[in-house]
């Protein structure tokens, strides 16, 4: 065993505190340190993942109390995969925002990287922890750092967006706490595995109420309709990389939490159908709203909401194929949406209102960025031979196998809407006349690098999906059998 | 080798016959028109004189190669379609080049003529020609439909698309198709009115309005070619009608009588009619003729 899951939480948290201290000594270290941390964690998580795939999940106990009393971290194929994905995206975010502009002064950079570290800490923690209260804490960490990051560009709009986010976040916290309280009052334990073992003893009334509170609380993080009002403003106001981080990291952790709750902890069949329904509604409203947007980032935000809805539907299918498709969708969404955010935020970099029209005719002046954006657009609407196609295909097959033909039809219709608004942008980029007042902003080298990496992944996965499918299969299998999870956690002693 | 020569010889004779008969009919029509208008009218052989005069014109002009191709195309149509039509029922002598006539083939071959002439007319660059051409083609689209419906009705009724087959069917049943499928005959005859371009459907070459339309730029040899192929074409159409509806002809006399009987219909109808505008003509063909065509098909399907 190469390392312990604790490090995933400990190190970035530590880094977050060290950054300002080091900043006093050597300013540049503020930028470099997070990178080192993320690289280390990424390698570590990859190693652990390899280990886990061979021989079972790793259960780490904190402070010596064995479950169900103590807090424990679970690094299984499922959570491990998500952690690796998050860390990878975090690394890209770091590379991208190493120098977001030619010259950023010291103070904002410091704040930025501290918050970023905390964000990653919280998200990873949400995924890894096996204790719901602990999870609640991590969600709070994420929330706080996210509010701050949203308001990073200290301006009226960003403050407003951040405030909205704050309101919603605190609502979600309240509901989560309620849910946890209910469960604790019924079962007297906070350990997920323990709860899962005894959940059948709880009276349905409490059970369902708790579930509802959980769903509402986490749904706000996971951009579930109608709880996702904060998302568009936040995405459009936060800096580009932060938007990517939200789409790739925070939302993923929220979805993970919901899935963990629904799949592992509770034993309510109706929850799955509920996921399908709510996912569809989210998808519909998000896409229909996206097609009417005139601002770049808002459009991307709505589209990412829609993708999340799709993921929820996929999870709601409830079969292993469904979970597999859902994970694949999450992976693709993380990669492609980050790519779109990166490229898009450079396309509208210098336009004040961030209108879509301002990207007109930039294909000439910034060819690589435009190409990458087009690539992302093609991939996310699921055109072969790009990554997005496979996940969509798997999803449809999974849905068809469980006989949801109408739902398939609905989703396909919606994805036509998606095609329309993405292709509008691509057309504008390549085939429209350039707006006079827009000055193209050449991306910095590191930003370009991270974008190109993402683009390569999109293409490579498109041609060789086998690279990713194996691990996805393991992860989905791992999520599916909850008894195994329970036994693993509860059987642990030291 | 002998049969080929025999066939070719037969073909040549057929062409000559068609030419002579067609010319004579044209002359007769002029004569009859004159008599109806209480005139003496030109001699019956007048058209031959005209043809001879036209061909013995000393000089000629051309606007380009297509002007020469156009009349040739028209001639191909006339003679080619003549080749596919059995002139006499069991005619050993007037055997033609083809093996058995096929109606669909004939339909297409027959509409090629106007297109060829249209190309020829287009090359001359005379706007009147082009206008006349558009009118002619539009009218053609008009009358082709009832004509085809009639033929389809026949095809259905006798389950063959070959003229010879139809003729055999008539000789077998002993009754002419006029009587056994009257609606088809009506539709076909109404279509024929348009096919012969006599009034009321002669707006194509309205002499004073369009200066004789498509042929405006063609004199001398061109006019001769068109005239003769026109007369051959007239013979072809008449023979086709006779073959289809009047049970063909066993000998020349019968052929002449029957063809002339058919020929009288458009001619006399033309004598007493004013002129239609193009869209009126097209609408006319898509009125009653179409109705009769449908009737014919119904009839054919039922019986």
């Amino acid at each position: 065993m190469v390392g312990s899951p604790v490090l995933f939480i400990a190190i970035p948290l530590l880094a977050a505190f060290i950054i300002p201290l080091l900043g006093m000594i050597w300013k540049e270290s503020v930028r470099i340190l997070p990178g080192l941390v993320l690289v280390y964690l990424l390698t570590l998580s990859i190693n652990l993942l390899g280990y886990v795939l061979d021989n079972g999940p790793i259960i780490e106990i904190i402070a010596g109390w064995t479950p169900p009393w103590g807090i424990n971290l679970v690094f299984s194929a499922f959570s491990g995969f998500l952690v690796t994905l998050m860390l990878f995206l975090g690394l890209l975010v770091w590379i991208y925002s190493y120098r977001f502009k030619r010259n950023v002064d010291f103070e904002p950079a410091k704040k930025y990287f501290i918050l970023l570290m905390m964000l990653i800490t919280g998200s990873v923690g949400i995924v890894l922890t096996g204790d719901i209260f602990n999870q609640f804490v991590f969600i709070e960490i994420v929330g706080i750092s996210a509010y701050a990051l949203t308001a990073f560009y200290t301006g009226r709009d960003s403050a407003e967006a951040s405030f909205k986010y704050l309101i919603m976040g605190s609502l979600s916290a309240g509901f989560l706490l309620l849910a946890i309280v209910i469960l604790y009052s019924q079962l007297g334990t906070l350990n997920m595995a323990d709860i899962a073992r005894n959940i059948h003893t709880v009276k349905p009334v409490y059970k369902i109420t708790a579930l509802i509170f959980f769903i509402v609380g986490l749904g706000i993080e996971a951009e579930m309709f109608p709880l996702n009002g904060w998302a568009p403003d936040v995405y459009s106001q936060a800096p580009g990389p932060v938007g990517a981080a939200f789409a790739g990291i925070v939302v993923k952790s929220g979805v993970y939490a919901i899935i963990r709750i629904v799949y592992t902890i509770f034993d309510i069949e109706g929850a799955f159908d509920f996921l399908v329904i709510i996912g569809l509604i989210t998808l519909l409203f998000a896409e229909t709203a996206a097609i009417k947007q005139i601002r770049m980032k808002r459009m991307l935000a709505y589209s990412s909401i829609g993708q999340m809805g799709l993921v929820l539907v996929a999870f709601g299918i409830g079969t292993e194929a469904g979970v597999f498709a859902a994970l694949f969708l999450m992976f693709n969404h993380a990669i492609i949406k980050s790519l779109l955010f990166y490229a898009g935020s450079y396309l509208v970099f210098n336009s004040k209102e961030k209108y879509i029209n301002d990207v007109s005719g930039l294909g000439k002046s910034m060819p690589i960025t435009s190409f990458l954006f087009a690539l992302g657009a093609f991939a996310i609407v699921g055109l072969p031979p790009f990554a997005g196609f496979w996940s969509k295909l798997y999803f449809l097959i999974a849905a068809a196998d469980s006989g949801m033909i109408m739902i398939i039809a609905l989703i396909l219709i919606v994805s036509i809407v998606e095609i329309v608004y993405y292709f509008r942008v691509v057309n504008k980029i390549y085939f429209s006349k350039k707006e006079a007042h827009v000055v193209p902003q050449r991306p910095t080298f590191n930003a370009l690098f991270s974008m190109i990496v993402l683009g390569l992944i999109v293409i490579i996965i498109g041609f060789f999906p086998d690279l990713i499918t194996g691990i996805l299969h393991d992860a989905s299998r791992d999520l599916m059998d909850k008894t195994d999870y329970i036994n693993n956690v509860l059987s642990i002693t030291h | 080798m002998e049969p080929i020569l025999y066939k070719v010889f037969g073909a040549v004779v057929t062409i000559i016959l068609a030419f002579v008969v067609g010319m004579t009919y044209m002359g007769l029509s002029r004569k009859i028109t004159a008599r109806v208008q209480n005139r003496v009218g030109p001699p019956v052989y007048q058209n031959f004189l005209d043809a001879l005069k036209l061909i013995s014109k000393k000089t000629a002009i051309h606007h380009g190669i297509m002007q020469m191709m156009g009349p040739a195309f028209f001639m191909v149509t006339s003679i080619g379609s003549l080749m596919f039509i059995p002139v006499l029922n069991d005619g050993r002598f007037f055997s033609n080049l083809n093996f058995e006539g096929d109606l669909v083939f004939l339909l297409y071959l027959m509409v090629f003529g106007p297109l060829g002439m249209a190309l020829g007319a287009g090359q001359t660059g005379n706007p009147n020609s082009a206008i006349g051409v558009t009118r002619g083609l539009s009218q053609m689209v008009g009358f082709e439909i009832p004509w085809v419906m009639a033929l389809v009705a026949l095809m259905i009724q006798y389950d063959t698309t070959s003229i010879v087959g139809l003729m055999e069917a008539q000789s077998a049943s002993g009754t002419w198709l006029v009587f056994s499928s009257p609606f088809a005959f009506i539709a076909a005859v109404l279509a024929m009115l348009g096919m012969f371009r006599y009034s009321p459907f002669d707006i194509v070459g309205a002499p004073t309005e369009l200066a004789s339309g498509p042929v405006a730029e063609n004199g001398g040899k061109y006019l001769f070619t068109m005239m003769s192929s026109n007369s051959i074409f007239a013979f072809v159409k008449l023979t086709l009608y006779v073959d289809l509806f009047l049970g063909g002809a066993d000998n020349l006399i019968e052929l002449l009588i029957k063809t002339f009987a058919i020929y009288l219909i458009p001619m006399l109808y033309g004598l007493v009619s004013p002129r239609y505008r193009t869209e009126q003509a097209v609408r006319y063909f898509w009125g009653w003729p179409l109705f009769f065509g449908f009737l014919a098909i119904m009839y054919a399907v039922v019986f």
Binding site: - | R30, Q46, L52, S212
Partner: protein, 181 residues
């Protein structure tokens, strides 16, 4: 064989026979005389007996019928039409005006003597000449053709310069393609 005299003569006889019996008249009413053409053609006098019929365009016509006076303006068109006609072609001067100006003898804008501008084969005098006269004129033309004397076109070709000279005298702005026969 073509240069064999007798056969050539025979051919000519046949062709002339055809020509004289089918005269396509260009229905081009230049003057008041045009009013006399319809009665000539229609039932009463029925010129079609003689194979005379109207032709719509000069390309098809054999006979150019100058019906009455010619203003200088019209002359230009008439010349154009005549040059577009194809050999053999004939011109019939119709009415006194074509002979000597007739009642327009002192008009400033009608040409007096048609023969100076176009080679006239047959004159029909009278103002107006009645249809019988017209038909008589045609018969005269036919007899000329039969004898092979109706050589107007040849005349025109041979001394084109002189004709052109006369024409250009009365037609100031001369824009016309060359007559290249």
């Amino acid at each position: 064989m073509m240069n064999d005299k007798n056969s050539q003569k025979i051919v000519d006889i046949i062709q002339n026979y055809a020509r004289l019996h089918s005269l396509f008249v260009l229905a081009y009413g230049t003057g008041c005389g045009a009013i006399e053409i319809p009665p000539t053609m229609t039932s009463r006098y029925d010129a079609e007996r003689f194979g005379i019929r109207g032709a719509a365009t000069p390309r098809q016509a054999d006979v150019l019928l100058i019906t009455g006076y010619l203003t200088t303006k019209t002359l230009k068109r008439v010349i154009r039409v005549y040059e577009q006609m194809q050999d053999p072609k004939y011109v019939i001067g119709f009415g006194s005006c074509t002979i000597n100006g007739g009642m327009y003898w002192d008009s400033y804008n009608t040409i007096k003597v048609l023969d100076k501008y176009l080679p006239v084969d047959v004159y029909i005098n009278g103002c107006m000449p009645r249809p019988e006269a017209v038909i008589a004129g045609f018969v005269k033309l036919q007899s000329l053709i039969r004898e092979g004397k109706a050589e107007g076109a040849k005349l025109y070709k041979d001394n084109l310069e002189q004709y052109r000279e006369n024409q250009k005298k009365v037609i100031p702005n001369w824009v016309m393609p060359e007559y290249n026969w």
